[in-house]
């Protein structure tokens, strides 16, 4: 151990965190995948989706917001937590209108990839089939709120990376919706296809227009390896 590092364990495996790192970041650096949706490298964490919930010394915590501390005993890949995450993913599916079969994000979608990872073949909760709006007013961008999981990644990316703050939320509870900063829709904002916010969406809610299915089935991001495999390394590996 070098000076200034923070020792902790994740599922019994000793790792070291740098000062200021969250549990999720420290685990990531050590090759341990903690499932997440609203967290994205380079953005401030929001802790809203709770998919990254771990037990820290027995207490549930969001790994993306909780700073690593010396001696923490973190449980991540346990049956209890897998079941909790599965239920969270499941609820996100039934809360929106996620029709993977014709969604152009299929195969590149983090929500779908997590569902596969957790073995969700059919939702256990009833579908809510909410009425959601599309915003196609921008010439190059499309918002399909049917697929929005309210993770806020676009809003944070727009604010923190693009310096634009184009997105926010309106409504409460089940009526919460992604909003844009112009009554006439996205087309009336300064949104641009090159904005970092546009690439931040984990699902098919925020899309570049006219891309569609240009990448064939079989060559999409999660067609070959499940989500998380880009992070996970065996203990002791580099």
């Amino acid at each position: 151990m070098t000076d200034g590092t923070i020792p902790l364990t994740v599922d019994g495996r000793p790792i070291e965190a740098r000062p200021g790192q969250t549990i999720l970041e420290a685990a990531e650096a050590a090759g341990i995948y903690i499932p997440r949706l609203c967290w994205l490298q380079g953005l401030s964490p929001s802790g809203s989706c709770r998919v990254c919930t771990v037990r820290v010394n027995g207490r549930p915590q969001a790994a993306c917001t909780q700073p690593a501390a010396p001696g923490m005993v973190v449980e991540n890949d346990t049956e209890e937590l897998r079941a909790l995450r599965r239920d969270l993913i499941d609820m996100l599916f039934v809360e929106g209108n996620h029709f993977c079969m014709f969604c152009e994000k299929s195969g590149n979608c983090e929500l779908q990839a997590l569902a596969y990872r957790f073995g969700i073949t059919a939702p256990k909760y009833p579908f809510l089939f909410p009425q959601r709006e599309l915003d196609a007013t921008h010439p190059d961008l499309l918002i399909d709120r049917n697929r929005c999981i309210l993770c806020g990644r676009c809003a944070r990316a727009s604010r923190e990376l693009d310096g634009k703050a184009l997105f926010g939320f309106t409504g409460r509870g089940p009526n919460r919706r992604l909003a844009v900063g112009a009554a006439a829709g996205l087309g009336a904002t300064a949104a641009d296809a090159a904005d970092r916010a546009m690439a931040a969406c984990p699902t098919g809610a925020l899309l570049a227009k006219r891309v569609g299915y240009a990448v064939p089935v079989g060559r999409r991001r999660y067609d070959q390896a499940p989500i998380g495999s880009e992070v996970a390394r065996p203990a002791g590996g580099e």
Binding site: M101, F102, L134, A136, L142, G212, P216, V217, G218
Partner: protein, 482 residues
Amino acid sequence: MANPATQRIVIEPLTRVEGHGKVTLLLDDRHRVQQARLHIVEFRGFERFIQGRPYWEVPVLVQRLCGICPVSHHLCAAKAIDGIVGVDRLPPTADKMRRLMHYGQIFQSHALHFFYLASPDLLLGFDAPVERRNVVGVIAEHPELALQGVAMRKFGQEIILATAGKKIHGTGAIPGGINKNLSVPERDRLLADLPRMLEWSQKAVALARDYTLGQLERLRDFGSFESNHVGLVRPDGALDLYDGRLRAVDARGGVLVDQVEPGDYLDVIAEEVRPWSYMKFPYLKTLGPADGWYRVGPLARLNVCDSIDTPLAEAARRELFAALGGRPSNVTMAYHWARMVELLHAAEVIERLLGDADLQGEDLVAPAGERRFESVAMLEAPRGTLTHHYRVDENDLVTMANLIVSTTCNNEAMNRAVRRIADDQISGRPEITEALLNQIEIGIRAYDPCLSCATHALGRMPLEVTLVDARGEVLDRRTRPS
């Protein structure tokens, strides 16, 4: 109250057809058929829920209306969307990949219908016991043939996989092109199976021919009637299942309309709604709703085209018309033979395409041209002419969709077949057996209907319910306006 002497026979579910339908027969007290109708009881609504979706999603979305010939809807929608993005000519690689996908679909669908669905009637007999008259019975009595059918269907599905990315509901065709080419290993795997497919296709043509000619006396009038015929042809009049212009001929072969561009279809075709079915009744405007109904599908296509541009299928086409007394033929049961001629044609086209180096090209998508807001496309799906018509707004969202599917075009013909067979086979018989009722299904099966994609209008349909007694007196009538 209905007259207690009236007997109502319902054949439900209709077996060995794709989708769900039923037939009702109304018999009077002397067992005469008063009424015979094919009802499509399932309901889709795709034309409505495509509205509001971005146009580039449509080829992948719309094919979900069915798992039987999704490729046909995928490609027809893609052709229409090519028009929306202002593309009139695809790069050769894209055009040929799509054609390969389409002929793979024709091949697997025709093989499925002939070997899985129709062969129990043809090989085991109309009157075979019901417990044997199914695909398991065919496997028991003709195992080699049954396995050929399975392998042929698989070959077609492998072509779809290689071109669309998935065997069912792929994503290959995109606006203005295709999203992959055919790799050399993919091509070589298909080529390895091709000689067997060509050989078996020829045997299937011979089987259908021998069956038809062997029982021609019985089959000539079975569910038969004179009708108009519609299909797509190339500018030179040859058969083209992927692209072409509309031609209609009457029951004697007289040309009614010819070389109609898909975009002009509304000038020649209209659709009638009848209150008792979710399926509409298309007709040729020049003849009106009473006389303008027509047939589509394999026999209709051979009836309208002047030639086939592959040698084995062309020879088979000539043999068919020579044996049936010339072109056009109105013998309903000849649909099976015509379908196998097309199966052979598909195998020959696949052979030609697989030998074409354009399939390994890298130019997959044409650059978008001038944006259009309305587009119509047609192709020949396995079951007949398929039309997709879309309007798209300036924000790229679909505002209108109209799909005229093959089975809908054959709606009137199938109802006539039901009526004809009911009159010939059921009327006046003291006992209605299961075998007799199967004959009605055989008449419908000749068209290989796919009932699942045939119904999709959504909204308040005009509805009139009439209660009629055995003497034809109206007992009650309720009307709901549209």
